[in-house]
């Protein structure tokens, strides 16, 4: 379970302070698929970054399985993210010097897996994403949809507790977007906890709950019935 309490995030620009998150309380159960929606500037991505420990909240706390992350050092957060979380970014965020399999294997190697094991897991994850024939291609040799699937493979290869996705279909055409969402649906069915920021209502509908943000606050939480 991942839980946020009284989460506040304020950005300072000189003497100007902008409060982007205004004391959010929210909880996600294991295995849930959450879609976060809202207009631009509503605070949804900022919320995702705080919850996923990519950024530090101004105040409040993020609890993972009841344990506060507030007092974690930067180094502890890095290890925590490595072991517990997976990330899918809007622009794929692949490392351009690494092939598809190397991109996926890198976090596994960082978890001290031996090379053979890391590459085997990376191969499995990429094959699961339908990219078994693209293992040794560099990101620049892949289409946007393929790059995003590599990114998902990297995010799930180490079986993270939570998969965070920040507008994963924003840069993709309809066909690729649908493919990505099918993958998310499949992962969700396998029990993966997913928290996804999206602008697209048709993809949000695939989530268990849709959380709507406006002006730094949650304005609604809709429970959905998934077919």
């Amino acid at each position: 379970m991942i839980e946020v309490k009284k989460l506040v995030k304020t950005f300072k620009n000189g003497s100007v302070e902008t409060r982007v998150l205004k004391g959010i309380d929210f909880a996600v159960s294991d295995g849930e698929f959450i879609a976060i929606m809202g207009r631009s500037g509503a605070g949804k991505s900022t919320f995702l970054y705080q919850m996923s420990l990519l950024d530090e909240p101004t105040s409040g706390d993020v609890l993972v399985d009841g344990h506060s992350t507030r007092e974690m050092t930067d180094a502890e957060e890095v290890i925590f993210r490595l072991q517990k979380f997976g990330y899918v970014f809007q622009d794929y965020a692949l490392l351009p010097d690494l092939t598809a399999i190397e991109n996926v294997a890198l976090p596994l190697l960082m978890q001290n897996l031996i090379s053979i094991e890391a590459y085997k897991k990376a191969d499995d994850a990429l094959t699961k994403m339908g990219l078994g024939h693209r293992l040794y291609n560099l990101p620049s040799q892949l289409s946007g949809g393929e790059q995003q699937r590599v990114s998902i493979a990297r995010a799930i290869a180490h079986n993270p507790k939570v998969l965070f996705a920040d507008e994963p279909t924003a840069n993709l055409d309809n066909e690729s977007s649908a493919l990505i969402m099918d993958i998310f649906k499949r992962l969700h069915k396998e029990g993966q906890t997913i928290i996804m920021v999206t602008h697209e209502i048709q993809y949000a509908k695939r989530a268990d709950r849709v959380v709507k943000f406006d002006d730094g606050k949650i304005i609604s939480i809709e429970q959905q019935t998934i077919e």
Binding site: L54, A75, R81, F89, L95, L98, L106, P107, M110, A155
Partner: protein, 417 residues
Amino acid sequence: MASFLTIRIGFFLAIRQVHRASIWTTSLIIFVMVLTFLNLVVVSGILVGLIQGAVDQARFEFTSDVIISAPDDKQYIENSPNLLALMRSFPEVQAVSGRYGSGAVLEANYKTRKETEKRNTANAQIFGIDPAQEDAVTHLSESVTEGDYLLPTDYDQVIIGQFLLSQYVPVDDPNFAALDNVGVGSKIRITVGDVTREVTVKGIIKSKVDALTRNMFMVDSQFRSMIGRNDGNVAQISVLLRPGTDPALVRDKLKQSGVDGYAKVQTYVDAQPQFLKDIINTFNMLGTVFSSMGLVVASITIFIVVFINAITRRKYIGIMKGIGIDGSAIRMSYVFQSAFYALLGSAIGLLLVYGFLVPFIDEHPIDFPFSDGILVAPVDETLFRVGLLVFSTIIAGYIPAWMIIRKNTLDSILGRN
């Protein structure tokens, strides 16, 4: 702290970054490192080699490995025949040459001079030598570039240093007397003490060693008859040692035999004049200063290269941190890259220096006015400089990587300042 894991990941990242970087960028960085290495080694090596060339020439052409000379208060070495015999009995000694010597006044154009004209004279040291023994020790015949070298049977013939002849003197200095219109075959007068003799110039010595170019040589028997001395006591003994023999060992052996009680025993290094030693020290110092500047330039270059590399890759650094790659592993990748550039640049530099420059310059010395300059690059000093270069490059690579990696992870990913 660098753990095995961070080293492993750093190496993993570095290899791929270098392997997949633009070949032109990589080549340019390595080229800069090669130039830096050459700047470190060659500039100071040439500076030192310029003097070393002079030292080597003086050793090869005049002093040889060990030189024994008369004490300051005497004109000759007592018991010279015994000493020469002792020297020849040493197994380390390859050849020995004794030289008689005395100050002399040379005069030319005395037959054509009008009474109102000033005498054309020059002062010089005149040496009486055994031509074969001298040539075996100092290869003097190789320095005779006009006319011929002396034969033991030559009667009243001399070979003369080029700077005693005005046509070879580079500057017209009234304090620097030289003989006019004298060449091979010319007659000149030499006066030693009260004795004056007319001799013929048989050859002209051209060299960059002052002891040759400002002096004159004749056959020892002729010299002895001129000064009227038959005791066999010479003024100098030059000793050529067998290859690989340390001159200091032979010097010490001679001193232990008590030779230093009646003669000055010096290695070629001891015999260097103080000004030359000062110049060597000065050039060594200059070489160190230039090397240090080269090192600073190399460090700044690598700093800029890594800084630009890290800043343009800031987003990817942020992503790596975001997905859980430890900052020290990322820093390590930049350390490995810097070390790679420095080591490869140094390796190419080493190949250039020892495979090409040193043998080439040894074969074709640089023609400086006072020496044939060589490139002095002792392996131990060069390897020390390689170590310095690699170390400073690693530090110069680490600092910018550290500066970029410590930035906020999300700011790096999103490209925020």
